[in-house]
């Protein structure tokens, strides 16, 4: 459906959604947030633009980006799950790497759980994007 307000708002909202979603994803391990929530917001960012137009006007991507998101996320998740197999024989075992940051008095902790969460993030984005796209595609055909 066509909506001028939404169209205008989406110009501001889209980047804002992206920033918030990534922020939520990264802070998720210690504060409210995480891959799932971040993914939902990023997914909204992707569909808010097309939402403000008529279905017929929406340009569909030739490449199947939603599927890329979905499968990419799934692959990341499986990779992070498999890494544990090589070190401790346990699937999904959390592996951590601590990098002391220069200048600031803090250490950066990277681990397979983060990779896992990014995987969830991508899959959720892909899912929303995918469903939306499939519906739009269907309507354009009719």
């Amino acid at each position: 459906m066509s909506s001028v307000i939404l169209k205008m708002a989406s110009i501001v909202l889209r980047p804002l959604f992206w920033v918030i979603s990534i922020w939520l994803l990264l802070r998720g391990h210690n504060h409210p947030g995480g891959g799932f929530i971040g993914g939902l917001i990023a997914g909204s960012a992707l569909i808010i633009g097309p939402l403000s137009r008529e279905a017929e006007e929406i340009k569909l991507e030739k490449k199947n980006y939603p599927l890329l998101f979905l499968s990419g996320g799934m692959i990341l998740i499986l990779l992070s799950a498999a890494l544990g197999l090589f070190t401790s024989d346990l699937m999904l075992e959390g592996l951590w790497m601590k990098i002391p940051l220069p200048l600031v008095d803090a250490t950066l902790k990277l681990g397979t759980p983060l990779m896992f969460d990014v995987g969830v993030y991508l899959t959720v984005i892909g899912f929303i994007y995918f469903i939306f796209n499939s519906m739009m595609e269907e309507w354009q055909w009719k």
Binding site: M1, G28, H29, N30, H31, P32, G33, G34, G35, F36, I37, L40, I41, G43, S44, L51, L70, G73, M74, I77, A81, M91, L92, G94, W96, K109, G111, P113, L114, F116, D117, G119, V120, T123, V124, G126, F127, I128, F130, I131, F132, S134, M135, E137, E138, W139, W141
Partner: protein, 763 residues
């Protein structure tokens, strides 16, 4: 030794990558692999004298007792020599025979895979390993029978062979497992030591019957024999190799191998001779009335397999010796005859014996080869077949208890065999009329070299049987029967009872042959009247029945109505839940009086009102928005109990759902009330039952007394072990990551479901 199996499997892969310059030599090149193994096996003969063995043992899955335990002893050696020796010639023969067929690459792969599996089967010293190879031979046999898969009856035969042998194979596997449970091992060597306790165990009879099921179905014993004539749909090299010389002998091999474990009992000496004898007679009799050359050979093969089974079942030293010799005899002449039949088929365009004739003048070399093999089949001197038959008669006569019956059966089937041999020899090669479709000419070198050498082998071994007995039969016999035996094979046994029986057999065969014009029509009439039941048709009917049954009940259970599926799921879950709730008397728990804030009560009220509104609304949009209100209300409750992550997630999901719902509704037809009053009431009832059950569970959950709530563990360990302060997130990505993995997978599947729903009708 394990290398030799590996070599054959590797050759199967290599056969695909032979450079095109070498294509014209493909059969020759590939035959080098089995030939090399054959020569290697010959070099092991000195080591295997006096019960020596070659052994390798590697553990594979020790947890279930499966080891890569290979063992080459006298018994394995006989089979391994037959497999690799005949295999080499088959490859050369196939090279010429398969010219003009499509997909010959596949053919070589299947054939070599079969060869490797068959070799593995006879070398396995572990029953589970043996079973794996056993099934592999069955599968490769299926692929080879169905090689000309574009014809309906070929596919039918292939499926039938697969189903019969795989059914037997599964029976056998359960027999193996029971045997493994009784003896505590799957190693055949270790079972032999426990033989007496196995035989006296209550499970002995079921074990024997189950294993015999496998052996009988593989070796085409009555009443499983019908798949073998069907298997003649395969190209002739396959019939010569799998369905006469090697694979169908697997059942014989298995019973010989297990004789020290299970043998020498009343049951063994009753069941096996009974079935074997019946098969022997039925096969020989049915061979008489066939018209297709390959079908005749197939039925005589069944008869020979019956003879072998009978001999194994008699279970005396002499009968085992007879079985081993007859095994070699049969492989040599029947392999030859099948290859000859294939050549004739190629050169004349038919295998119908009513049309064939005069080939002796047109294909002299082939004729000589065939006649040598037929002599062996008829059991005439100086061929090895003669020695084989003599020993069989000797074994029959010395059978404990039922010598009379066994000998009579043996003589009758042998008379039939003599008749069939003369009949084929005369009809195909010497009869003065020929009505084939092509003008036959002598075959090329490829076609007669293999069968020629096999037939000559029968002659040479017949002339010098002593070597065979000393080097091959004796070590094998030592494996089957524990005591050492002295085997002296001779061509000439003197004028004794056995010789008289032989003379009688020969005369009987000749006499029947002379009376053929009266007898064959008579037999055909008898067949029509009494044996009109065709086992293969019965089998097909049985399989069709299973399919019809499956279709019938699938139609009832999988009706395709979403609402009924949901109803079944909900009701079953609720019924189980309610059963447990009532069982534990959930109403007796005391609800503690808790301080509930005003907000909570208010939000609960809003949710309730919104729910009722959803139910009663007459507009879709209203219904969806009030559903959204329910969702937001729940999110607020989460917030009040300080579950921030849950609340955010709930809000986002709720919003997106409403948005997408609205999008969908936009495209839907106008709201209409489709459900009748009765079905609405029914749905309300189900909803109340399920809802009540959920409420009960929730109340109950509050009062479960766990020693230590799991949440304490998470709270304690999230920062230290999960390196995160947000417990929910640590649970999601670390402690319970497997659950999340499952959920994400569900997302993927749901996406696929969307594709299916939206796009399925487009194509």
């Amino acid at each position: 030794m394990e290398l030799s199996i590996g070599i054959l499997f590797a050759a199967a892969v290599l056969s695909l990558s032979i450079p095109s310059r070498l294509r014209p030599l493909k059969g020759w090149i590939l035959s080098l692999f089995p030939l090399g193994i054959f020569i290697f096996l010959l070099t092991t003969i000195p080591e295997l004298q006096n019960n020596g063995v070659l052994e390798t043992n590697r553990s594979w899955m020790p947890g279930i007792g499966l080891n890569l335990h290979l063992l080459l002893d006298g018994l394995s050696l006989i089979f391994a020599l037959l497999i690799t020796g005949i295999g080499s010639f088959i490859l050369i023969y196939a090279h010429q025979y398969m010219q003009g067929y499509a997909h010959t690459n596949r053919f070589y792969v299947y054939l070599l895979v079969f060869m490797g599996s068959m070799l593995g089967l006879v070398l396995s010293a572990n029953l589970l390993l043996l079973f794996i190879f056993w099934e592999l031979t069955g599968i490769s046999s299926f692929l080879l029978i169905g090689f000309k898969h574009k014809e309906e009856n070929v596919r039918q035969s292939a499926i039938q062979a697969l189903l019969v042998t795989a059914f037997g194979g599964l029976m056998m596997l359960s027999g193996f497992v029971m045997l493994g449970l009784v003896s505590g091992t799957y190693e055949i060597n270790q079972m032999i030591g426990q033989s007496s306790s196995i035989i006296n165990h209550g499970w002995y009879l079921p074990i024997l019957i189950l294993i015999l099921g496998g052996a009988f179905s593989k070796s085409a014993q009555f009443p499983f024999h019908f798949w073998l004539p069907g298997a003649m749909q395969a190209p002739s090299p396959v019939s010569a190799f799998l369905h006469s010389a090697t694979m169908v002998k697997a059942g014989i091999y298995l019973m010989a191998r297990l004789n020290p474990v299970l043998g020498n009992t009343m049951e063994w000496q009753t069941i096996i001779p009974l079935i074997g004898g019946a098969t022997m007679l039925i096969g020989a009799y049915l061979a008489l009335t066939q018209k297709d050359l390959k079908a005749i050979l197939a039925y005589t093969t069944i008869s020979a397999l019956g003879t072998l089974m009978l001999l194994i079942g008699i279970d005396t030293e002499l009968s085992m010796k007879a079985a081993l010799i007859y095994l070699i005899v049969h492989a040599l002449y029947k392999g030859t005859l099948f290859m000859v039949a294939g050549s004739i088929d190629k050169k004349t365009g038919t295998r119908n014996i009513d049309l064939l004739g005069t080939l002796a003048y047109r294909m002299p070399i082939t004729t000589v080869v065939a006649l040598l093999a037929l002599l062996s089949m008829a059991g005439l001197p100086p061929m090895l077949g003669f020695i084989g038959k003599e020993i069989i008669y000797e074994a029959n006569i010395q059978t404990p208890n039922v010598a009379g019956i066994v000998t009579t059966l043996g003589v009758i089937s042998n008379i039939f065999m003599v008749w069939v041999s003369i009949f084929i020899g005369y009809r195909v090669f010497f009869r003065k009329s020929y009505q084939g479709y092509k003008t036959p000419s002598e075959t090329s070198f490829h076609f007669w070299i293999g069968p020629g050498i096999l037939a000559l082998g029968g002659l040479i071994l017949g002339l010098f049987p002593y070597q065979l007995g000393e080097n091959i039969i004796q070590p094998a016999l030592g494996v089957i029967q524990a005591e050492q035996l002295d085997i002296k094979l001779k061509l000439w046994h003197g004028f004794n009872r056995v010789f008289l029986l032989s003379m009688f057999t020969l005369l009987g065969g000749v006499a029947l042959f002379l009376l053929r014009h009266q007898l064959i029509p008579f037999f055909r009439r008898v067949n029509k009247k009494f044996f009109d039941v065709r086992f293969s048709d019965m089998f097909t009917g049985f399989i069709d029945g299973i399919m019809a049954f499956a279709k019938g009940h699938t139609k009832v259970i999988q009706h395709g109505y979403q609402r009924f599926y949901l109803m079944v799921i909900f009701l079953v879950v609720a019924a189980m839940g309610w059963f447990q709730l009532i069982n534990t008397r959930f109403w007796e728990i005391e609800m503690p009086v808790q301080q509930v804030s005003v907000y909570t009560v208010l939000i609960a009220l809003v949710i309730t009102v919104a729910t009722l509104f959803t139910l009663l609304s007459r507009s879709r949009l209203t219904a969806i928005i009030s559903m959204g209100v329910v969702g937001y209300g729940i999110a607020l409750i989460y917030l009040i109990y300080s579950a921030v992550d849950l609340a955010i997630t709930q809000l986002l999901v709720e919003t997106l759902t409403v948005v997408i719902f609205v999008l969908v509704i936009f495209k839907l037809p106008r709201f209409a009330s489709l459900s009748s009053r009765a079905s609405k009431l029914r749905d309300a009832g189900i909803a109340l039952i399920v809802g009540g059950f959920m409420t009960g569970i929730a109340m109950k959950a509050k009062h479960l007394e766990l020693k230590e709530p799991i949440s304490d563990f998470f709270v304690k360990n999230a920062p230290g072990k999960g390196f995160g302060d947000n417990i929910v997130n640590v649970i999601l990505v670390d402690f319970r990551a497997l659950d999340t993995l499952g959920e994400v997978t569900v997302l993927m599947i749901a996406a696929l479901g969307v594709v299916a729903l939206l796009k399925i009708d487009r194509s």
